[in-house]
Symmetry: C2
Subunit: 233 residues, 2 copies
DNA sequence: TATTATTGTCTCATATTGTTACAATAATAC
DNA sequence: GTATTATTGTAACAATATGAGACAATAATA
């Protein structure tokens, strides 16, 4: 940690933060971390090395947090208001982490932060806290703890953009296992849109889009007709 | 100019660039400037002061270029690849401007640039070049000169986002005079979408949206029935 | 006063979406 | 085994939205 965050290695005054979405079958959740001994909750974020593409920096950072390699990432907004930076909070976090305050002075200035959201398959991940944080956990999007700085605004905006992008991009794909039932697909859509959808209309629309492959039926151990499994083309 | 761009005043390694859209009644155009004696064409851009919100910095910069006060501005993407920076080009621009190369050394490093697009009423603007540029002119979006660095990618992406936002936001509003005919409104839509629309269907859809106010008829001096004038609610 | 081009609106055809109904069926209860 | 249960897949019809054409209204011009 100490040597990893040396001033000269990073672009000054820029950071990124990530809203990492997962779906547990019923709810849309995001990853939130808690910094050591501070009671401060935050989105996973980081800095950009001088010799690194912005997209690469975010990809590497999110990969490290989740252990996943291929991650659906989308840049959605850059947050640049003066009031968003909070040097006092950053000082506490660095202090409690045991790092040298002098070495980290560059982190206490003003930061413009680029927001990304990620869509990942909930089941494949067991997130691990890093050196700065006590814990990193899934929280349903409507039961988040109070987040530091402008991170709640970041979540709100990420959800907005996710919903706006929803029709064009094939978003369900990234939140589900490779094979899934029509009901699961509908539940993802409902969780993201925040509303109930009509079953028959949803099914017809999905099938008419020519984006799904139908597979063998699932033996699912429930007392009713077994549904087909689908995957994306 | 010399003292205006002092290093300590600005956030290092961050800039903004703007795609300023206007509509002349037939074509969608954007503002492109040419730097002194370099043959380099670029989008209007600038830096962010240490004590200034990102949004404010862009608003002020675009206001200065266009002379307009209330500008519809939308942040659409942040460009952060390593390869986008071109220190040689920046050196030429600064050299030809007569500024001190040493004072401006901070401009030759790597930059992450936040892209904004603006929608303005073409008729109200007579853009003026600043100290660094020979000219600033309107160019139809499909007849642009070759732009420096990644500015062509910036235009492409701006158009993409503009089209994607098109249905939700009331975009025509910002490109037209306060009162306009249905035909003008249709022409804006056609210019942005890049396709012809059916007159009757377009009219029906617009009127059903309950966003327009119908005014008195225009005495327009053409040999046919005069159209109504409309404004946005 | 007739002609012209464009406008505003109507109608009918077609496509899309909402809603209801119902047969198929995999486990469970008996 | 056989009936029961909950859910699934699909069909059928209704309601709504959109595509396409027709036509009367009308402001300037010939």
């Amino acid at each position: 940690m100490k040597s990893k965050l040396k001033k000269g290695d990073y672009i000054q005054n820029i950071s990124y933060d990530s809203v990492i979405f997962g779906f547990n079958g019923a709810q849309l959740k995001i990853l939130v971390l808690e910094y050591h001994n501070t009671g401060l909750y935050a989105l996973p974020g980081g800095f950009i090395r001088m010799d690194e593409d912005l997209d690469e920096a975010v990809k590497n950072g999110v990969s490290k947090r989740t252990g996943l390699e291929d991650i659906y990432l989308e840049q959605y907004h850059t947050f640049g208001s003066l009031s968003r930076s909070d040097s006092a909070a950053m000082k506490r976090i660095i202090m409690e982490s045991g790092s040298d305050l002098m070495d980290c002075e560059w982190m206490f200035g003003r930061f413009i932060s680029v927001g990304y959201y990620a869509l990942i398959n909930y089941e494949e991940v067991s997130p691990k806290p890093d050196e700065l944080s006590d814990s990193i956990n899934w929280y349903p999007i409507d039961e988040l703890p109070t987040l530091m700085m402008d991170h709640e605004e970041m979540v709100t905006k990420a959800l907005q953009v996710l919903r706006a992008n929803f029709e064009n991009k094939l978003i369900g794909m990234n939140l589900l296992p490779a094979k899934f039932t029509m009901k699961q697909l509908q539940q993802v859509h409902e969780a993201i849109l925040g509303e109930k959808l009509r079953r028959t209309t949803f099914q017809r629309k999905m099938l008419s889009k020519d984006i799904l492959v139908r597979h063998e039926k699932l033996f699912q151990g429930k007392a009713h007709k077994a549904p087909y499994l689908y995957s994306f083309k």
